[in-house]
Amino acid sequence: MKPIRWACSRAWLTALLALLALCAVAHAQPQHPRQADLVLSAQLLPPPPTAAWQRVDLPHATRDVTAWYRVQFNAGESKTDQLWAVYLPYLYRGGRLFLNGTPLASIQETSADLVIRWERPHLVTIPAPSLRTGTNELMIRVPATAVSPDHMPLLQIGPYIDLLPVYQNRLFWVGTMPQFTVLSCLIVGLLALFIWWRRPEETLYGFFGAASVLWGIRTLTFVIEVLPSTAWHAWRALYHGATGGFVILMLLFAMCLAGIGYARLKWWLFGYWLLGPVAYLTTGGNESMVTKWWAGGLLPIGFAVLVISAAAAWKQRTMATVMLSGALTLGVLAGLHDYLIATSSPIIRALAPEHVADRIFLLHYAADIVLVVMGGLLSARFVGTLQALAQLNRTLELRVAERERTLSSNYERLRQLERQHAAGEERQQIMRDLHDGLGSQLFLMLSRAEGGQIEQQEMVQALRECIADMRLTLEAMTPESNDFLQAWGNFRFRWQHQLEASGLICTWELDAGGEAIDLSPHATLQLLRIVQEALTNVLKHAWARTVAIRLRMEGRTLSIEVADDGRGLANPNARGGHGLNNMRARALHLGARIEIADQHPGVRVAVRFDRGETSDRPEPVRHTVAAA
């Protein structure tokens, strides 16, 4: 955000300057007086020309004493209707300006009630009548303050239109940027702290949030330029505390990222952090002492941050550590630079005097870069965490799906086993049926035939019954599906032939819809046996003319009815009593209901079998259970 803004403003300024350069041919260039005359005097009016003026180089600084500076410049012949101005890159404590002996401007100064520290540059316009052709004399009063050296900047004098962009450029960097930084640092820092508050194990977010907030507070001191003097010391202490805290938190952040333990060191660092503000307050605001010694002590810590992050970058070679160590290098270099400027170190004065004169402090911007990088790293971590989470979810889903497959295959196996088991049960049932029915009948006949007790006709009849029973068993067992209707079709075909051969008129009704009727072979066999018994009775005993056989499917209930118009149950015991009992026993065994009613004329046998709740697919077990 900030770099973009910066780039925009630079582009804008460049464009403006280019435009101005076109016009510049017409008018004079701004002048940079490099020397001034100085008189130390607390007077509110400029000293007379006869005072003891001393020539000094600009920029200049005095300590604890009010100074009057006299700057001479040549307006040349350019005294047109053009507006001129004086540009002061800084005049921290305010002051007064006089041109050619008449008051030009008064910039608010520190008083008993207010502490003033103007970070902004000043652009003072010169009304056209005040400007003389040829030499002009500008007097500037720089008031004395108790807290720091009082600086007289390298000023510029020239056409207003030329100085305005220079002024605006500096205003942007020393005025707008800090405001911007304060706002974004506080918002981002509080967000990070919120994350840390909800997830205390995310220590990095905590360090980053705290560092960001501290940096915002520190920068606030550059935004607030006018302060009640009662709050001044507290304000400066806050500034030093925020600066120190920021550097120390950076160290902890770097150690945390590099995976270095800091449990013990933490307290030492905390102590050192407190030392600065406390020393400042106890010495009654000894700015230069705190800046030189305590803030100087922060520099090794800054170097430690740099070394640790560089080592981590070297060892881990991750994007995160490399980026951070790069940004920190910038930060530390900027901090060193600012320290040198603030203390007006001879080294930097010798190297770049112009730069010292500008008094541009870089740590703001470097710290902004560091914070942006830290924020970027944490965002990347956050995104990484989200992606890991998504990956984890995918993995989990896959595992769940796999588990589901295993489960369903296990279930399928279980069902298969169950079915095999059920099939085994079915087979046993059928074998029992064969044993009890066909087997016992054959053995009975064998013994009677061996004893010579059986008539040929009776023997034929008995054997035909055996064959009929065997057919029935086969019919119940052979269908490929468990569809009762298939077995019923075979049964009907066979019995119709037999009934018609005996001269009976038979009607068959089928009311089962088009659907198959799923039944186990055992249940099928038992039901068919009951019906067969009933039909046999009709054939043998009823002397009937007609017989009606009805099969109906109502819901899940299968009902079969056999009704004849014969002589009825004249004597149930004499008339096939054994057969009726057999039918009842079979029905009971199967779990079916049977009704045998004498209807005068004829007999009606009705059997109803409930197929149970769930037999959409064949479930022999259910029927077996019902039969048991």
């Binding site: 019923w488 075979n490 119709q496």
Partner: protein, 222 residues
């Protein structure tokens, strides 16, 4: 005009039973009896009977071979296969080989003669189980031949194989309805139903002959 019948049965009791039933019917004339595949084939060549009764379980082979021999060269004769229950897979095999009827082993003497006469008169008996197997057989043939089991093909069976009417008849028979009932439902005479069934049998036989030729070609026998 009598109908000459050849009986192929290895079990003396049943052979006697069939011979007695035929002798009792004046229209039928027993022209011979065989007990082996080889013997039956020789008798077929010399006697050329109108109707052949074949039991499948012969000591020297399968009765199906006898049926094939009997029907070889598009002979105009009928073959009835003797079966225990009228629903086993052998019946379908026999029909494929050219049989146009079946006879239950425990059939009453008058039923035996009746069946022979019915088949000779152009009709064929059919049980629900056989009807189902025939339906199934055509369905299986179709799916293997067409290679695609598109459900819509199910209803539109190859018209050249089974007609809509024939399919209807088979479905009704499979439910256990007799010819009279089937005829009533389809509004045709029972005799027409019988004729249809015989045609179905012949189709199955022709179809399986074509299939056999195809298979033999595939195997390099022809």
């Amino acid at each position: 005009m009598t109908v000459s019948v050849l009986v192929v049965e290895d079990e003396p009791g049943f052979l006697q039973r069939f011979c007695d039933a035929i002798a009792a019917e004046p229209v039928l004339r027993l022209c011979g009896a065989g007990t082996t595949v080889v013997g039956a084939c020789a008798l077929l060549d010399t006697l050329s009977p109108d109707v052949v009764l074949v039991d499948l379980g012969l000591p020297d082979g399968n009765g199906v071979d006898v049926i094939r021999h009997a029907m070889a060269g598009g002979a105009k004769r009928d073959v009835l296969v003797v079966t225990m229950f009228g629903d086993d897979g052998n019946v379908i095999e026999s029909i494929r080989a050219g049989a146009t009827g079946y006879l239950l082993k425990d059939a009453m003497p008058k039923d035996i003669a009746g069946s022979i006469l019915q088949v000779h008169a152009g009709g064929s008996p059919i049980s629900p189980a056989i009807a189902r197997r025939v339906l199934q057989s055509f369905r299986v043939d179709r799916t293997t031949a067409v290679e695609a089991t598109v459900p819509s093909m199910e209803t539109s069976a190859r018209p050249s194989v089974l007609t809509e009417r024939e399919t209807q008849i088979l479905r009704l028979v499979a439910k256990g309805l007799n010819f009279k009932e089937v005829g009533a439902i389809l509004a045709i005479s029972p005799n027409t139903v019988i004729t249809h069934v015989k045609r179905i049998y012949q189709k199955l036989a022709v179809h399986s002959r074509g299939e056999a030729v195809y298979e033999a070609n595939q195997m390099g026998l022809l």
